[in-house]
């Protein structure tokens, strides 16, 4: 009995015993959006500078139908509408106006960029 009391008093475990664990890591994204889309090096030059904010369309000088698509803020505000028109969804004016539908890979990038939180990167 003397031993038992001594052992219990020596045991550091009596100090404080918690059962806490780390936060579970976010699953690593799979599929088409596995890589983070860059706004400045991919989205803007590959889609908007070529197909949207060209002279006479959605540039600051023209602003066709009220849309100017030159900066991150302008594009970000209208992101969902842009995706709809690029995908030629029903009820939206298909864009680029009077031109071919964009390549699927480019539309995918726009989709991923929205999913990843419309980063200004």
């Amino acid at each position: 009995m003397k031993h038992l009391i001594l052992i219990l008093s020596l045991s550091f475990l009596a100090v404080a015993c918690l059962k806490e664990k780390t936060v579970e890591p976010e699953p690593i994204p799979e599929g088409p959006c596995a890589e983070t889309v860059s706004f400045s090096t991919e989205l803007l030059p590959e889609i908007f500078d070529i197909s949207c904010n060209t002279s006479g369309c959605h540039d600051s000088g023209t602003g066709a139908t009220g849309y100017v698509l030159e900066t991150h803020e302008q594009i970000s505000t209208n992101a969902n509408v842009i995706l709809d028109v690029l995908q030629h969804n029903l009820g939206f004016v298909p864009m680029p106006y009077g031109g071919e539908k964009l390549a699927d890979s480019l539309i995918q990038k726009m989709d991923c960029w929205i999913e990843q939180g419309q980063l200004n990167n």
Binding site: I7, L10, S11, F12, K19, E20, T22, V23, E24
Partner: protein
């Protein structure tokens, strides 16, 4: 006749007291290799202890490029340990630590419940409780085991019972069971781990012996079991006139039981074993 009776009674009395002598020197020191042995420090003696483990001898990280691990330091522990009573030791140490658990202070208390006698008590029984505290600043990534949301998360404990018997001057066997508790672990891992182990000392000649120490973690959760190994150490003991020099080879990188019991990942079969040694000096206070 009276004289003869006197002599006989002295012999009998002498043999009886001799028969109850405690059995000494089961192991050369307070550790078998990495883990505690049943040996205690003499009362009022202070032991200064420096333990060292090097890098992998073989495998991807070893070989001639870092001279078989000598260029790398796996862990180092500097400690002061003190025998309060013949049956009660305490100690504090500082470990370099391993991986994310680095910069660790540890403390322990060790109590001998039973002491093997030449006749009568057949075994030694010792209880060891230890605590470890990594003190470096927490990392910001909350998925990391070093992110410590609060101070108590840093603590880890190990309680062990050691039982041993010195069968002869040549052969000593020790078994241990214990419980390790970490206050903060990976979300897949378990906070509490049970382990059991065996250690042995085999003296082959007067000056040369072999040591082995193995611990098995019993309840590692399945999701992480494949990431971990059980610590296995083998040692060569060379006795040189009152001092014993132990060459330790182990897959365990750490030196404190709060680290090597739960955190050993290195695998003997991949060449991830290392050389280690301790230097200890006792001072009478």
């Amino acid at each position: 006749m009276k004289k003869l009776l006197f002599i006989v009674s002295i012999i009998v009395a002498g043999s009886v007291t001799y028969g109850q002598e405690p059995v000494l020197e089961s192991f050369a020191g307070t550790r078998v290799l990495s883990n505690h042995s049943i040996e205690m420090l003499p009362k009022r003696s202070l032991e200064f202890r420096v333990s060292h483990k090097f890098g992998d001898i073989a495998g991807d990280a070893g070989g001639i490029n870092n001279f078989f691990g000598f260029d790398n330091l796996a862990d180092v522990r500097i400690a002061f340990e003190y025998g309060i009573l013949d049956n009660l030791d305490i100690g504090v140490g500082r470990n370099k630590g391993i991986g994310l658990i680095s910069g660790v202070v540890d403390g322990y208390a060790k109590y001998r419940i039973l002491h093997q006698k030449t006749t009568g008590m057949p075994v030694n029984l010792v209880f060891v409780s230890s605590l470890a505290l990594p003190y470096k600043p927490a990392v910001s990534d909350s998925t990391s085991v070093a992110s410590y949301p609060r101070f108590l998360n840093r603590l880890r404990f190990t309680n062990q019972l050691l039982v041993s018997r010195k069968f002869s001057d040549r052969f000593v066997l020790q078994a241990n069971v214990g419980y390790n508790h970490r206050n903060y672990v990976d979300y897949l891992d378990g906070n509490g781990l049970l382990f059991a182990g065996v250690s042995s000392r085999l003296r082959i000649t007067k000056t040369f012996g072999l040591l082995v120490e193995y611990n098995h973690v019993l309840n590692r959760p399945e999701g992480v079991a494949a990431n971990y190994q059980n610590p296995l150490s083998v040692g060569i003991e060379i006795l040189t006139g009152g001092h014993s020099f132990i060459l330790n080879f182990s897959n365990a990188r750490a030196l404190n039981e709060n680290l090597f019991m739960p955190e050993t990942t290195a695998n003997w079969l991949d060449g991830q074993f290392r050389f280690g040694f301790s230097i200890n000096r006792q001072f009478k206070l």
